[in-house]
Amino acid sequence: MNEPALHGMAQTKKDRSAPVLRPGNTNCGGCGMSNLLQMLSRAAEDSDIKIVIPACCAAITTGVFPESSISVPTILTTFAAGASVATGVASVAQLNNEETRVICLAGDGGTYDIGMGTLSAAAERNEDILYICYDNEIYGNTGGQRSSATPTGASTTTTLGGKSEVKKDIMGIMAAHHIPYAASISLAHADDTLRKLRFALNVKGFRFLHVLAPCPTGWKSEPAVSIELVRLAVRSGLFPIFEVFDGDHYTINIEPDFSSEALLMYLSLQRRFRKSGVTEEAIRPNIERYWHQLRAMSGRIMPAIRNIKAD
């Protein structure tokens, strides 16, 4: 594994003068969405951005009126209306020849489940929106219920013995819309993440980013190991990092080692997998099936060589 150093996501000269996510916000320690917004602060260093947030943890992140933890103009919408409200904001920016980037920041519930129709429609219309799904694999805001993003074997408050179904393939769904750009993002691979965020900010049309966002509260994991968990999910092949251009050109960005060590470590560091006792043998076929398809789509039968220029 050749992973770039995290080189500290604290406020530096390279970031926006006001961080997108302000200090003093109420996010849980180790929240993946916090990390994502830190990285967005750097990627969108000098872009004019507006954010649309449907009901999800990020809506709570903004805090209580009239103070806000988000330092850019933001509108909080109803659960299923993220992509439609973003359509309105982006359309008016376009009508007025503004360079505003409209970002829709939604959780997995608002993306995979209740907002799916709205998201699909906005993607089909190729609206000029950057849609970022921070996927914590549960309804975190309501206390951790099953969503269609919850992985096999994970206990939630509505699947006490662990979920038996397979996680929905959101990247496949978005790629099938033939949008200009779709990519999955690893918070443990900062250079790749920054490159994708910057690229996605500047592409015209509908862009989709899928971020695995650890939720120590829901995953029953230590806040300090959140980034490590993402690294293990990527190493084990559980969370493939790739990008899709125009729905047909696939590029695998990070090659996993598919090791049992990474997978077992990933499962054992989270208490949500304990009750079901889900084993490597149960998960491995899903990983293999997905990667088989991914390799076919990317036109590679050999493992991809990492080719990301260091930032």
Partner: protein, 386 residues
Amino acid sequence: MSVELISANHAAALGATLAGRANRTARGFCSGVYPITPTTECMEYLCGQEIEKGKVVRVDSEHSAMGVCIGASSAGARSFTATSSNGLAYMLENCVAAASYRLPIVMAVSNRTLGPPWNIWADHGDSLLLRDLGWLQFYCADNQEVFDTVLCAFKLAEDPRVLMPAISCMDGFILSHTMAQVEIPGQKLVDRFLPTTKVPHRLNKSAHTLGQLEIPQQAVAHRTQHHQAMLAAVQVYAEIQDSFEEIFGRRVADPVVAYHADDADTLIVSMGTIGTTAERVVDQLREQGQRVGSIRVRMFRPMPENDLRKYFAGTKRIAVLDRNISLGYGGVLWGEIRGFSDPDAIVQGYMVGVAGGDVRREHIINLLTDLQQCKTESAPKIVEVA
């Protein structure tokens, strides 16, 4: 000014088009639309218009249609949509949001019965779902009124003292699909009537967040502001009527349209097209020497209470005709206005034309005969008009 023979659906869309174009020097016009019987022709017409600095987004659902309107309006554009019945029910969650954000979105509603079982005919139950949300509501009785009301709704909704969404309702098919002459002003006159849209809290440069968490005290403060602005809309509407008359040379209808009401001992109160039928009944009965009058409640939110109290004063018998039914209670209009009459008056509720029944003069005359025989008020009556 030209006169065109168009349906009320097209009249509403034409009003929105002219209003949209009038905002070309500001943030433009953006609308999300989705088809549903009997409003489809309204959104189709809008999709066919060339609107400078305007965009009509053909979305995936009514929920998204209102979503686009919210996004557009929160970005400072003028915004409009049209729907009916279950479309409005599906949109409802975003209607709550649009009102709470205090966004001046205008919507045309062709009233239609909520289903299933499916029924495409007129009933006010759909738009009445929005009764308590903080939307201004108008019920129209002819095509000209639909056109005028859409223009006035933009001006009223965007007034800084009001600043909230508005709906203009028309009875499905009875108006929405009926062709009638409509006076259409030229763009220059509409530009004069409608100043450009200003949404003071729009997403601009400052880093504020719309729709955040509120503690109860803040929520109450916001609701109070909203309520007071709604009440103030009655006076603002009167000013708009004057401005409308000055620019277009004719007067837009009052919040309460009274017909031979001043000396009447019996009043027929209704909303929408039933009101025009009631006026014909008044003509007929006046010829026979009966002192009957008609009151058509055109502005339903805010409720023009003072006007109604004025007309009800001294009236002994009032028949309230509701084209809706609040199950377990009675007609919505009846429930709202029965307190405005003299204490000794008989205010009898009749639910007539519910779910699209065709209300004709003989039906209203029968109701009045029933009313004259009433010794005391009784429970609201459901009247079949087959």
